[in-house]
Homo-oligomer: 308 residues x 2
Protein backbone atom coordinates (compact mmCIF):
# COMPACT_ATOMS: atom_id res chain seq x y z
CA UNK A 1 0.00 0.00 0.00
CA UNK A 2 1.30 3.40 -0.94
CA UNK A 3 1.13 5.98 1.83
CA UNK A 4 -0.67 9.08 0.55
CA UNK A 5 1.50 12.19 0.57
CA UNK A 6 0.98 14.43 3.59
CA UNK A 7 -0.55 17.60 2.18
CA UNK A 8 0.38 20.84 3.82
CA UNK A 9 -2.37 23.22 4.94
CA UNK A 10 -1.29 25.57 2.13
CA UNK A 11 -1.73 22.78 -0.45
CA UNK A 12 -5.21 22.03 0.90
CA UNK A 13 -6.18 25.69 0.65
CA UNK A 14 -4.76 25.98 -2.85
CA UNK A 15 -6.57 22.86 -4.11
CA UNK A 16 -9.67 24.17 -2.34
CA UNK A 17 -9.53 27.49 -4.09
CA UNK A 18 -9.28 25.73 -7.48
CA UNK A 19 -12.36 23.70 -6.54
CA UNK A 20 -14.17 26.86 -5.47
CA UNK A 21 -13.25 28.48 -8.77
CA UNK A 22 -14.78 25.51 -10.65
CA UNK A 23 -18.01 25.82 -8.69
CA UNK A 24 -18.07 29.58 -9.14
CA UNK A 25 -17.76 29.27 -12.91
CA UNK A 26 -20.44 26.60 -13.10
CA UNK A 27 -22.70 28.79 -10.98
CA UNK A 28 -22.17 31.85 -13.19
CA UNK A 29 -23.10 29.82 -16.26
CA UNK A 30 -26.14 28.34 -14.54
CA UNK A 31 -27.43 31.66 -13.22
CA UNK A 32 -26.96 33.49 -16.53
CA UNK A 33 -28.87 30.78 -18.35
CA UNK A 34 -31.63 30.52 -15.71
CA UNK A 35 -32.25 34.26 -15.71
CA UNK A 36 -32.14 34.59 -19.50
CA UNK A 37 -34.37 31.60 -20.19
CA UNK A 38 -36.83 31.63 -17.31
CA UNK A 39 -37.03 35.20 -16.02
CA UNK A 40 -36.69 37.32 -19.12
CA UNK A 41 -39.69 39.65 -18.68
CA UNK A 42 -40.85 42.17 -21.24
CA UNK A 43 -38.60 44.92 -22.57
CA UNK A 44 -36.55 46.92 -20.13
CA UNK A 45 -37.77 44.93 -17.10
CA UNK A 46 -35.82 41.94 -18.40
CA UNK A 47 -32.74 44.11 -18.92
CA UNK A 48 -33.01 45.57 -15.41
CA UNK A 49 -33.47 42.13 -13.88
CA UNK A 50 -30.42 40.73 -15.67
CA UNK A 51 -28.39 43.83 -14.77
CA UNK A 52 -29.22 43.28 -11.11
CA UNK A 53 -28.81 39.51 -11.03
CA UNK A 54 -25.72 39.20 -13.20
CA UNK A 55 -23.74 42.13 -11.83
CA UNK A 56 -20.24 41.26 -10.68
CA UNK A 57 -20.26 39.97 -7.12
CA UNK A 58 -18.41 37.69 -4.77
CA UNK A 59 -21.18 35.08 -5.04
CA UNK A 60 -20.52 34.13 -1.44
CA UNK A 61 -24.08 32.95 -0.76
CA UNK A 62 -24.38 30.61 -3.75
CA UNK A 63 -20.95 29.17 -2.94
CA UNK A 64 -22.18 28.56 0.61
CA UNK A 65 -25.14 26.66 -0.88
CA UNK A 66 -22.95 24.50 -3.11
CA UNK A 67 -20.27 23.74 -0.54
CA UNK A 68 -22.86 23.03 2.17
CA UNK A 69 -24.43 20.50 -0.19
CA UNK A 70 -21.03 18.81 -0.54
CA UNK A 71 -20.34 19.09 3.17
CA UNK A 72 -23.26 16.74 3.93
CA UNK A 73 -22.22 14.34 1.16
CA UNK A 74 -24.32 15.65 -1.73
CA UNK A 75 -23.27 16.28 -5.34
CA UNK A 76 -22.84 20.05 -5.57
CA UNK A 77 -24.29 20.35 -9.09
CA UNK A 78 -27.67 19.22 -7.76
CA UNK A 79 -27.74 22.35 -5.60
CA UNK A 80 -27.33 24.85 -8.45
CA UNK A 81 -31.03 25.86 -8.54
CA UNK A 82 -30.88 26.52 -4.79
CA UNK A 83 -27.70 28.57 -5.25
CA UNK A 84 -29.43 30.64 -7.94
CA UNK A 85 -32.49 31.11 -5.72
CA UNK A 86 -30.44 32.39 -2.79
CA UNK A 87 -28.40 34.72 -5.01
CA UNK A 88 -31.62 36.15 -6.51
CA UNK A 89 -32.94 36.91 -3.01
CA UNK A 90 -29.63 38.63 -2.25
CA UNK A 91 -29.79 40.62 -5.51
CA UNK A 92 -33.41 41.61 -4.77
CA UNK A 93 -32.43 42.92 -1.35
CA UNK A 94 -29.56 44.99 -2.77
CA UNK A 95 -31.73 46.55 -5.48
CA UNK A 96 -34.44 47.57 -3.01
CA UNK A 97 -31.99 48.70 -0.32
CA UNK A 98 -30.42 51.08 -2.84
CA UNK A 99 -33.74 52.79 -3.71
CA UNK A 100 -34.09 56.52 -2.98
CA UNK A 101 -36.69 55.82 -0.27
CA UNK A 102 -34.19 53.53 1.46
CA UNK A 103 -30.40 53.95 1.43
CA UNK A 104 -30.45 56.07 -1.76
CA UNK A 105 -27.22 54.69 -3.20
CA UNK A 106 -26.01 55.55 -6.71
CA UNK A 107 -23.26 52.93 -6.91
CA UNK A 108 -23.05 49.24 -6.08
CA UNK A 109 -20.25 46.83 -6.90
CA UNK A 110 -18.54 49.62 -8.88
CA UNK A 111 -21.52 50.24 -11.23
CA UNK A 112 -24.63 52.38 -11.21
CA UNK A 113 -27.36 50.90 -9.04
CA UNK A 114 -30.30 49.35 -10.88
CA UNK A 115 -32.73 52.23 -10.23
CA UNK A 116 -30.11 54.81 -11.29
CA UNK A 117 -29.67 53.00 -14.58
CA UNK A 118 -33.27 51.96 -15.32
CA UNK A 119 -35.38 54.35 -13.27
CA UNK A 120 -37.07 53.89 -9.93
CA UNK A 121 -40.17 52.01 -11.14
CA UNK A 122 -38.04 49.34 -12.81
CA UNK A 123 -35.80 49.22 -9.73
CA UNK A 124 -38.80 48.29 -7.59
CA UNK A 125 -40.16 45.83 -10.19
CA UNK A 126 -36.82 44.15 -10.96
CA UNK A 127 -36.38 43.50 -7.22
CA UNK A 128 -39.92 42.12 -6.97
CA UNK A 129 -39.39 39.85 -9.97
CA UNK A 130 -36.09 38.54 -8.59
CA UNK A 131 -37.76 37.64 -5.31
CA UNK A 132 -40.61 35.78 -7.01
CA UNK A 133 -38.16 34.06 -9.36
CA UNK A 134 -36.10 32.81 -6.42
CA UNK A 135 -38.97 30.63 -5.23
CA UNK A 136 -39.84 29.38 -8.70
CA UNK A 137 -36.20 28.50 -9.25
CA UNK A 138 -35.90 26.72 -5.90
CA UNK A 139 -38.52 24.21 -7.03
CA UNK A 140 -36.22 23.19 -9.88
CA UNK A 141 -34.33 21.15 -7.30
CA UNK A 142 -36.98 18.58 -8.23
CA UNK A 143 -35.41 18.15 -11.69
CA UNK A 144 -32.11 17.50 -9.89
CA UNK A 145 -33.64 14.60 -8.01
CA UNK A 146 -33.97 16.35 -4.63
CA UNK A 147 -36.97 14.89 -2.75
CA UNK A 148 -40.09 17.08 -2.60
CA UNK A 149 -40.05 16.99 1.20
CA UNK A 150 -36.62 18.72 1.21
CA UNK A 151 -37.80 21.28 -1.34
CA UNK A 152 -40.84 22.24 0.74
CA UNK A 153 -38.56 22.63 3.75
CA UNK A 154 -36.19 24.79 1.66
CA UNK A 155 -39.04 27.04 0.44
CA UNK A 156 -40.25 27.59 3.99
CA UNK A 157 -36.75 28.47 5.17
CA UNK A 158 -36.09 30.86 2.29
CA UNK A 159 -39.46 32.57 2.78
CA UNK A 160 -38.90 32.97 6.49
CA UNK A 161 -35.30 34.17 6.12
CA UNK A 162 -36.42 36.81 3.62
CA UNK A 163 -39.59 38.05 5.31
CA UNK A 164 -40.72 40.54 7.92
CA UNK A 165 -38.99 38.85 10.83
CA UNK A 166 -35.60 38.41 9.17
CA UNK A 167 -34.00 40.09 6.11
CA UNK A 168 -36.73 42.64 5.35
CA UNK A 169 -37.29 43.21 9.07
CA UNK A 170 -33.55 43.84 9.49
CA UNK A 171 -33.65 46.48 6.77
CA UNK A 172 -36.61 48.15 8.51
CA UNK A 173 -34.69 48.18 11.80
CA UNK A 174 -31.61 49.49 10.01
CA UNK A 175 -33.53 52.41 8.53
CA UNK A 176 -35.26 53.14 11.84
CA UNK A 177 -31.84 53.20 13.55
CA UNK A 178 -30.32 55.78 11.19
CA UNK A 179 -28.98 58.78 13.04
CA UNK A 180 -29.92 57.24 16.42
CA UNK A 181 -27.51 55.84 18.95
CA UNK A 182 -27.77 52.05 18.84
CA UNK A 183 -26.03 49.79 21.37
CA UNK A 184 -24.26 46.47 20.70
CA UNK A 185 -27.47 44.43 21.16
CA UNK A 186 -29.40 46.64 18.78
CA UNK A 187 -26.71 46.37 16.09
CA UNK A 188 -26.49 42.62 16.53
CA UNK A 189 -30.26 42.41 16.17
CA UNK A 190 -30.06 44.25 12.82
CA UNK A 191 -27.11 42.30 11.39
CA UNK A 192 -28.38 38.87 12.43
CA UNK A 193 -31.54 39.57 10.45
CA UNK A 194 -30.20 41.61 7.59
CA UNK A 195 -27.07 39.59 6.83
CA UNK A 196 -27.19 36.49 9.03
CA UNK A 197 -30.61 35.10 8.12
CA UNK A 198 -29.91 34.64 4.42
CA UNK A 199 -26.44 33.15 5.02
CA UNK A 200 -28.00 30.73 7.48
CA UNK A 201 -30.67 29.84 4.94
CA UNK A 202 -28.01 29.43 2.23
CA UNK A 203 -26.13 26.80 4.22
CA UNK A 204 -29.29 25.07 5.43
CA UNK A 205 -30.82 24.93 1.94
CA UNK A 206 -27.57 23.69 0.43
CA UNK A 207 -27.54 20.91 3.02
CA UNK A 208 -31.18 20.06 2.20
CA UNK A 209 -30.26 19.86 -1.49
CA UNK A 210 -27.68 17.31 -0.36
CA UNK A 211 -30.54 15.46 1.37
CA UNK A 212 -29.59 16.42 4.91
CA UNK A 213 -32.33 16.04 7.51
CA UNK A 214 -34.07 19.00 9.14
CA UNK A 215 -32.00 18.79 12.35
CA UNK A 216 -28.70 19.05 10.47
CA UNK A 217 -30.16 21.90 8.43
CA UNK A 218 -31.19 23.65 11.67
CA UNK A 219 -27.69 23.39 13.15
CA UNK A 220 -26.05 24.63 9.95
CA UNK A 221 -28.59 27.43 9.73
CA UNK A 222 -27.63 28.66 13.19
CA UNK A 223 -23.93 28.55 12.30
CA UNK A 224 -24.61 30.48 9.09
CA UNK A 225 -26.57 33.18 10.91
CA UNK A 226 -23.68 33.82 13.29
CA UNK A 227 -21.20 33.74 10.42
CA UNK A 228 -23.25 36.43 8.68
CA UNK A 229 -23.00 38.59 11.76
CA UNK A 230 -19.22 38.15 11.87
CA UNK A 231 -18.93 38.94 8.13
CA UNK A 232 -20.98 42.09 8.64
CA UNK A 233 -18.59 43.21 11.35
CA UNK A 234 -15.74 42.76 8.85
CA UNK A 235 -17.66 44.72 6.23
CA UNK A 236 -18.23 47.55 8.66
CA UNK A 237 -14.53 47.62 9.59
CA UNK A 238 -13.75 47.75 5.84
CA UNK A 239 -16.35 50.41 5.09
CA UNK A 240 -14.80 52.66 7.71
CA UNK A 241 -11.33 52.37 6.19
CA UNK A 242 -11.49 51.34 2.53
CA UNK A 243 -11.67 53.16 -0.80
CA UNK A 244 -14.18 53.21 -3.69
CA UNK A 245 -11.81 51.16 -5.87
CA UNK A 246 -11.47 48.31 -3.36
CA UNK A 247 -15.03 48.15 -2.16
CA UNK A 248 -16.88 49.09 -5.36
CA UNK A 249 -19.22 51.45 -3.55
CA UNK A 250 -18.86 54.77 -1.81
CA UNK A 251 -16.99 54.39 1.43
CA UNK A 252 -17.34 56.05 4.76
CA UNK A 253 -21.02 56.29 3.76
CA UNK A 254 -22.15 54.33 6.80
CA UNK A 255 -20.56 56.85 9.13
CA UNK A 256 -21.82 59.82 7.11
CA UNK A 257 -25.35 58.42 7.22
CA UNK A 258 -25.22 57.56 10.90
CA UNK A 259 -25.67 53.84 10.16
CA UNK A 260 -25.60 51.51 13.13
CA UNK A 261 -22.40 49.44 13.04
CA UNK A 262 -20.92 47.05 15.59
CA UNK A 263 -17.44 48.66 15.52
CA UNK A 264 -19.08 52.03 16.23
CA UNK A 265 -21.06 50.52 19.11
CA UNK A 266 -18.26 48.62 20.90
CA UNK A 267 -15.03 49.97 19.38
CA UNK A 268 -12.84 48.47 16.67
CA UNK A 269 -10.76 46.23 18.92
CA UNK A 270 -13.68 44.55 20.65
CA UNK A 271 -15.48 44.20 17.32
CA UNK A 272 -12.49 42.33 15.80
CA UNK A 273 -12.23 40.06 18.82
CA UNK A 274 -15.96 39.30 18.76
CA UNK A 275 -15.86 38.46 15.04
CA UNK A 276 -12.89 36.11 15.60
CA UNK A 277 -14.65 34.42 18.54
CA UNK A 278 -17.80 33.88 16.48
CA UNK A 279 -15.84 32.45 13.55
CA UNK A 280 -14.16 29.87 15.80
CA UNK A 281 -17.59 28.77 17.07
CA UNK A 282 -18.94 28.61 13.50
CA UNK A 283 -16.04 26.46 12.31
CA UNK A 284 -16.49 24.10 15.24
CA UNK A 285 -20.23 23.79 14.58
CA UNK A 286 -19.64 23.00 10.92
CA UNK A 287 -16.98 20.42 11.71
CA UNK A 288 -19.40 18.73 14.14
CA UNK A 289 -22.40 18.73 11.74
CA UNK A 290 -20.80 17.66 8.44
CA UNK A 291 -18.87 14.63 7.25
CA UNK A 292 -17.07 16.47 4.43
CA UNK A 293 -16.70 20.06 5.65
CA UNK A 294 -13.36 20.81 3.91
CA UNK A 295 -14.46 23.01 1.02
CA UNK A 296 -17.09 24.85 3.06
CA UNK A 297 -14.35 25.59 5.60
CA UNK A 298 -11.95 26.79 2.89
CA UNK A 299 -14.65 29.13 1.56
CA UNK A 300 -15.43 30.56 4.98
CA UNK A 301 -11.76 30.99 5.82
CA UNK A 302 -11.03 32.73 2.49
CA UNK A 303 -14.01 35.03 2.96
CA UNK A 304 -13.10 35.92 6.53
CA UNK A 305 -9.57 36.83 5.40
CA UNK A 306 -10.44 39.15 2.51
CA UNK A 307 -9.12 42.66 2.75
CA UNK A 308 -7.68 42.31 6.21
CA UNK B 1 -87.65 7.30 -1.75
CA UNK B 2 -88.41 10.95 -1.25
CA UNK B 3 -87.91 13.10 -4.33
CA UNK B 4 -85.65 16.01 -3.43
CA UNK B 5 -87.32 19.37 -3.90
CA UNK B 6 -86.49 21.08 -7.16
CA UNK B 7 -84.44 24.09 -6.16
CA UNK B 8 -84.84 27.21 -8.19
CA UNK B 9 -81.74 28.93 -9.58
CA UNK B 10 -82.37 31.75 -7.12
CA UNK B 11 -82.38 29.29 -4.20
CA UNK B 12 -79.10 27.77 -5.38
CA UNK B 13 -77.51 31.21 -5.61
CA UNK B 14 -78.81 32.20 -2.20
CA UNK B 15 -77.53 29.01 -0.54
CA UNK B 16 -74.28 29.54 -2.43
CA UNK B 17 -73.85 33.05 -1.15
CA UNK B 18 -74.36 31.84 2.44
CA UNK B 19 -71.66 29.21 1.83
CA UNK B 20 -69.36 31.85 0.34
CA UNK B 21 -69.98 34.03 3.39
CA UNK B 22 -68.94 31.15 5.68
CA UNK B 23 -65.73 30.65 3.73
CA UNK B 24 -65.04 34.37 3.64
CA UNK B 25 -65.37 34.66 7.42
CA UNK B 26 -63.15 31.62 8.00
CA UNK B 27 -60.58 33.11 5.62
CA UNK B 28 -60.58 36.49 7.38
CA UNK B 29 -59.97 34.76 10.72
CA UNK B 30 -57.22 32.58 9.25
CA UNK B 31 -55.42 35.45 7.50
CA UNK B 32 -55.54 37.76 10.51
CA UNK B 33 -54.07 35.06 12.71
CA UNK B 34 -51.44 33.99 10.17
CA UNK B 35 -50.21 37.54 9.66
CA UNK B 36 -50.23 38.41 13.35
CA UNK B 37 -48.51 35.23 14.49
CA UNK B 38 -46.09 34.45 11.67
CA UNK B 39 -45.34 37.74 9.89
CA UNK B 40 -45.29 40.28 12.66
CA UNK B 41 -41.97 42.00 11.91
CA UNK B 42 -40.38 44.63 14.12
CA UNK B 43 -42.14 47.88 15.02
CA UNK B 44 -43.87 49.83 12.32
CA UNK B 45 -43.02 47.27 9.61
CA UNK B 46 -45.41 44.82 11.28
CA UNK B 47 -48.10 47.53 11.45
CA UNK B 48 -47.63 48.41 7.78
CA UNK B 49 -47.75 44.78 6.75
CA UNK B 50 -50.96 44.15 8.70
CA UNK B 51 -52.48 47.38 7.36
CA UNK B 52 -51.79 46.20 3.80
CA UNK B 53 -52.82 42.57 4.25
CA UNK B 54 -55.89 43.07 6.43
CA UNK B 55 -57.38 46.06 4.63
CA UNK B 56 -61.00 45.64 3.56
CA UNK B 57 -61.21 43.89 0.22
CA UNK B 58 -63.45 41.63 -1.80
CA UNK B 59 -61.14 38.66 -1.14
CA UNK B 60 -61.98 37.36 -4.58
CA UNK B 61 -58.67 35.50 -5.05
CA UNK B 62 -58.72 33.59 -1.76
CA UNK B 63 -62.35 32.64 -2.40
CA UNK B 64 -61.27 31.34 -5.80
CA UNK B 65 -58.65 29.22 -4.04
CA UNK B 66 -61.13 27.78 -1.54
CA UNK B 67 -63.94 27.11 -4.02
CA UNK B 68 -61.53 25.61 -6.58
CA UNK B 69 -60.36 23.20 -3.88
CA UNK B 70 -63.98 22.17 -3.32
CA UNK B 71 -64.67 22.03 -7.04
CA UNK B 72 -62.18 19.16 -7.43
CA UNK B 73 -63.56 17.37 -4.36
CA UNK B 74 -61.22 18.70 -1.67
CA UNK B 75 -62.12 19.98 1.80
CA UNK B 76 -61.92 23.77 1.51
CA UNK B 77 -60.42 24.33 4.96
CA UNK B 78 -57.27 22.50 3.84
CA UNK B 79 -56.71 25.23 1.25
CA UNK B 80 -56.68 28.13 3.75
CA UNK B 81 -52.86 28.53 3.72
CA UNK B 82 -52.95 28.69 -0.09
CA UNK B 83 -55.74 31.26 0.04
CA UNK B 84 -53.67 33.38 2.43
CA UNK B 85 -50.60 33.03 0.20
CA UNK B 86 -52.45 34.21 -2.90
CA UNK B 87 -54.05 37.14 -1.05
CA UNK B 88 -50.63 38.20 0.27
CA UNK B 89 -49.26 38.25 -3.28
CA UNK B 90 -52.23 40.36 -4.31
CA UNK B 91 -51.72 42.73 -1.37
CA UNK B 92 -47.99 43.00 -2.19
CA UNK B 93 -48.79 43.96 -5.78
CA UNK B 94 -51.26 46.65 -4.70
CA UNK B 95 -48.84 48.20 -2.21
CA UNK B 96 -46.03 48.40 -4.77
CA UNK B 97 -48.30 49.54 -7.62
CA UNK B 98 -49.43 52.47 -5.46
CA UNK B 99 -45.86 53.71 -4.80
CA UNK B 100 -44.92 57.20 -6.04
CA UNK B 101 -42.50 55.71 -8.61
CA UNK B 102 -45.37 53.63 -10.03
CA UNK B 103 -49.04 54.68 -10.09
CA UNK B 104 -48.60 57.18 -7.24
CA UNK B 105 -52.00 56.58 -5.65
CA UNK B 106 -53.02 58.09 -2.31
CA UNK B 107 -56.15 56.00 -1.76
CA UNK B 108 -56.97 52.32 -2.08
CA UNK B 109 -60.12 50.55 -0.94
CA UNK B 110 -61.30 53.83 0.61
CA UNK B 111 -58.26 54.27 2.86
CA UNK B 112 -54.85 55.87 2.59
CA UNK B 113 -52.41 53.66 0.67
CA UNK B 114 -49.74 51.93 2.74
CA UNK B 115 -46.89 54.24 1.73
CA UNK B 116 -49.05 57.34 2.38
CA UNK B 117 -49.73 56.12 5.89
CA UNK B 118 -46.35 54.62 6.81
CA UNK B 119 -43.89 56.32 4.46
CA UNK B 120 -42.34 55.11 1.24
CA UNK B 121 -39.57 52.93 2.73
CA UNK B 122 -42.09 50.91 4.74
CA UNK B 123 -44.34 50.73 1.68
CA UNK B 124 -41.56 49.02 -0.26
CA UNK B 125 -40.59 46.79 2.67
CA UNK B 126 -44.15 45.79 3.62
CA UNK B 127 -44.73 44.70 0.01
CA UNK B 128 -41.48 42.74 0.00
CA UNK B 129 -42.33 41.04 3.27
CA UNK B 130 -45.83 40.11 2.06
CA UNK B 131 -44.36 38.49 -1.04
CA UNK B 132 -41.83 36.44 0.93
CA UNK B 133 -44.49 35.49 3.47
CA UNK B 134 -46.77 34.19 0.71
CA UNK B 135 -44.30 31.43 -0.14
CA UNK B 136 -43.60 30.56 3.48
CA UNK B 137 -47.34 30.37 4.11
CA UNK B 138 -47.95 28.21 1.04
CA UNK B 139 -45.76 25.49 2.54
CA UNK B 140 -48.18 25.27 5.49
CA UNK B 141 -50.40 23.23 3.20
CA UNK B 142 -48.20 20.42 4.51
CA UNK B 143 -49.77 20.74 7.97
CA UNK B 144 -53.17 20.39 6.26
CA UNK B 145 -52.14 17.04 4.81
CA UNK B 146 -51.57 18.22 1.22
CA UNK B 147 -48.86 16.04 -0.39
CA UNK B 148 -45.43 17.65 -0.82
CA UNK B 149 -45.52 17.04 -4.58
CA UNK B 150 -48.63 19.29 -4.87
CA UNK B 151 -47.02 21.96 -2.70
CA UNK B 152 -43.88 22.10 -4.84
CA UNK B 153 -46.11 22.45 -7.92
CA UNK B 154 -48.06 25.23 -6.18
CA UNK B 155 -44.88 27.11 -5.25
CA UNK B 156 -43.63 26.96 -8.81
CA UNK B 157 -46.96 28.24 -10.16
CA UNK B 158 -47.19 31.07 -7.64
CA UNK B 159 -43.60 32.12 -8.33
CA UNK B 160 -44.12 32.09 -12.07
CA UNK B 161 -47.48 33.91 -11.92
CA UNK B 162 -45.91 36.64 -9.80
CA UNK B 163 -42.60 37.09 -11.62
CA UNK B 164 -41.11 38.98 -14.53
CA UNK B 165 -43.13 37.21 -17.19
CA UNK B 166 -46.52 37.57 -15.52
CA UNK B 167 -47.79 39.89 -12.75
CA UNK B 168 -44.67 42.04 -12.32
CA UNK B 169 -44.09 41.99 -16.08
CA UNK B 170 -47.66 43.16 -16.63
CA UNK B 171 -47.11 46.10 -14.30
CA UNK B 172 -43.93 47.00 -16.21
CA UNK B 173 -45.86 46.90 -19.51
CA UNK B 174 -48.67 48.93 -17.95
CA UNK B 175 -46.27 51.68 -16.88
CA UNK B 176 -44.49 51.63 -20.24
CA UNK B 177 -47.87 52.02 -21.99
CA UNK B 178 -48.92 55.12 -20.01
CA UNK B 179 -49.77 58.01 -22.28
CA UNK B 180 -49.14 55.90 -25.39
CA UNK B 181 -51.79 54.56 -27.73
CA UNK B 182 -52.15 50.83 -27.10
CA UNK B 183 -54.27 48.55 -29.28
CA UNK B 184 -56.54 45.69 -28.19
CA UNK B 185 -53.72 43.11 -28.32
CA UNK B 186 -51.41 45.28 -26.25
CA UNK B 187 -54.07 45.83 -23.59
CA UNK B 188 -54.93 42.14 -23.49
CA UNK B 189 -51.24 41.38 -23.06
CA UNK B 190 -51.08 43.67 -20.03
CA UNK B 191 -54.28 42.44 -18.35
CA UNK B 192 -53.62 38.75 -18.89
CA UNK B 193 -50.35 39.19 -17.00
CA UNK B 194 -51.30 41.80 -14.45
CA UNK B 195 -54.72 40.43 -13.47
CA UNK B 196 -55.13 37.08 -15.20
CA UNK B 197 -51.98 35.30 -14.08
CA UNK B 198 -52.70 35.49 -10.34
CA UNK B 199 -56.36 34.51 -10.77
CA UNK B 200 -55.26 31.54 -12.85
CA UNK B 201 -52.74 30.58 -10.18
CA UNK B 202 -55.40 31.02 -7.47
CA UNK B 203 -57.71 28.47 -9.09
CA UNK B 204 -54.88 26.10 -10.01
CA UNK B 205 -53.36 26.20 -6.53
CA UNK B 206 -56.75 25.72 -4.90
CA UNK B 207 -57.25 22.65 -7.07
CA UNK B 208 -53.79 21.34 -6.09
CA UNK B 209 -54.69 21.82 -2.42
CA UNK B 210 -57.68 19.59 -3.22
CA UNK B 211 -55.18 17.07 -4.62
CA UNK B 212 -55.99 17.67 -8.30
CA UNK B 213 -53.38 16.49 -10.78
CA UNK B 214 -51.20 18.86 -12.81
CA UNK B 215 -53.33 18.55 -15.96
CA UNK B 216 -56.50 19.61 -14.18
CA UNK B 217 -54.57 22.44 -12.54
CA UNK B 218 -53.32 23.53 -15.98
CA UNK B 219 -56.82 23.64 -17.44
CA UNK B 220 -58.21 25.56 -14.47
CA UNK B 221 -55.23 27.91 -14.62
CA UNK B 222 -56.01 28.79 -18.22
CA UNK B 223 -59.68 29.41 -17.38
CA UNK B 224 -58.66 31.63 -14.45
CA UNK B 225 -56.31 33.69 -16.62
CA UNK B 226 -59.08 34.46 -19.11
CA UNK B 227 -61.50 35.19 -16.27
CA UNK B 228 -59.03 37.71 -14.90
CA UNK B 229 -58.95 39.44 -18.26
CA UNK B 230 -62.76 39.62 -18.34
CA UNK B 231 -62.86 40.96 -14.76
CA UNK B 232 -60.33 43.62 -15.68
CA UNK B 233 -62.55 44.74 -18.56
CA UNK B 234 -65.40 45.11 -16.03
CA UNK B 235 -63.15 47.07 -13.70
CA UNK B 236 -62.16 49.40 -16.50
CA UNK B 237 -65.81 49.95 -17.45
CA UNK B 238 -66.50 50.72 -13.79
CA UNK B 239 -63.50 53.01 -13.41
CA UNK B 240 -64.71 55.10 -16.33
CA UNK B 241 -68.18 55.57 -14.85
CA UNK B 242 -68.16 55.08 -11.07
CA UNK B 243 -67.65 57.31 -8.04
CA UNK B 244 -65.12 57.35 -5.17
CA UNK B 245 -67.75 56.05 -2.73
CA UNK B 246 -68.58 52.97 -4.80
CA UNK B 247 -65.12 52.07 -5.92
CA UNK B 248 -63.12 53.15 -2.87
CA UNK B 249 -60.45 54.79 -4.95
CA UNK B 250 -60.26 57.83 -7.14
CA UNK B 251 -62.21 57.33 -10.33
CA UNK B 252 -61.62 58.46 -13.85
CA UNK B 253 -57.94 58.22 -12.84
CA UNK B 254 -57.17 55.68 -15.56
CA UNK B 255 -58.36 58.07 -18.24
CA UNK B 256 -56.61 61.05 -16.67
CA UNK B 257 -53.35 59.09 -16.54
CA UNK B 258 -53.65 57.73 -20.06
CA UNK B 259 -53.80 54.13 -18.77
CA UNK B 260 -54.28 51.44 -21.39
CA UNK B 261 -57.78 49.96 -21.04
CA UNK B 262 -59.68 47.53 -23.24
CA UNK B 263 -62.84 49.67 -23.44
CA UNK B 264 -60.69 52.59 -24.61
CA UNK B 265 -59.02 50.38 -27.22
CA UNK B 266 -62.11 48.75 -28.73
CA UNK B 267 -65.06 50.81 -27.49
CA UNK B 268 -67.42 50.10 -24.59
CA UNK B 269 -69.87 47.96 -26.53
CA UNK B 270 -67.31 45.56 -27.97
CA UNK B 271 -65.54 45.38 -24.60
CA UNK B 272 -68.77 44.29 -22.88
CA UNK B 273 -69.44 41.67 -25.54
CA UNK B 274 -65.89 40.32 -25.34
CA UNK B 275 -66.08 40.03 -21.54
CA UNK B 276 -69.39 38.15 -21.80
CA UNK B 277 -67.98 35.80 -24.45
CA UNK B 278 -64.92 35.04 -22.30
CA UNK B 279 -67.05 34.37 -19.23
CA UNK B 280 -69.16 31.82 -21.10
CA UNK B 281 -65.98 30.00 -22.17
CA UNK B 282 -64.63 30.12 -18.61
CA UNK B 283 -67.82 28.66 -17.17
CA UNK B 284 -67.81 25.87 -19.72
CA UNK B 285 -64.16 25.04 -19.00
CA UNK B 286 -64.81 24.89 -15.26
CA UNK B 287 -67.88 22.69 -15.70
CA UNK B 288 -65.78 20.31 -17.84
CA UNK B 289 -62.81 20.14 -15.45
CA UNK B 290 -64.50 19.83 -12.06
CA UNK B 291 -66.89 17.36 -10.48
CA UNK B 292 -68.33 19.82 -7.95
CA UNK B 293 -68.14 23.22 -9.66
CA UNK B 294 -71.28 24.77 -8.11
CA UNK B 295 -69.80 27.13 -5.53
CA UNK B 296 -66.93 28.20 -7.78
CA UNK B 297 -69.53 29.04 -10.43
CA UNK B 298 -71.67 30.97 -7.95
CA UNK B 299 -68.61 32.99 -6.93
CA UNK B 300 -67.66 33.79 -10.50
CA UNK B 301 -71.21 34.71 -11.44
CA UNK B 302 -71.60 36.98 -8.41
CA UNK B 303 -68.29 38.67 -9.15
CA UNK B 304 -69.08 39.20 -12.83
CA UNK B 305 -72.39 40.82 -11.88
CA UNK B 306 -71.14 43.33 -9.34
CA UNK B 307 -71.84 46.95 -10.09
CA UNK B 308 -73.31 46.40 -13.49
Amino acid sequence: MVTPPVRSRRAVLSAGSRDLQDRLEAFERYLARAVRVRACGPGRLGQALRYAALSPGKRLRPLLVLTACEAVGGEWRRALPAAAAVECVHAFSLVHDDLPAMDDDDYRRGRLTTHKKFGEALGVLAGDALLAFAFEELTRLREEGVPDARIVDAVRRLGHATGAEQLVGGQALDIAAEGRKVGATGVRNIHVRKTGALMGAAIAIGALAGDADARTADRLNDAGVMMGFAFQIHDDLLNAGSSLETLGKRVGTDVARGKATFPAAVGEKRARAEAARIMRAVEAAIARSCEHPRLLQVLIEATAKRER
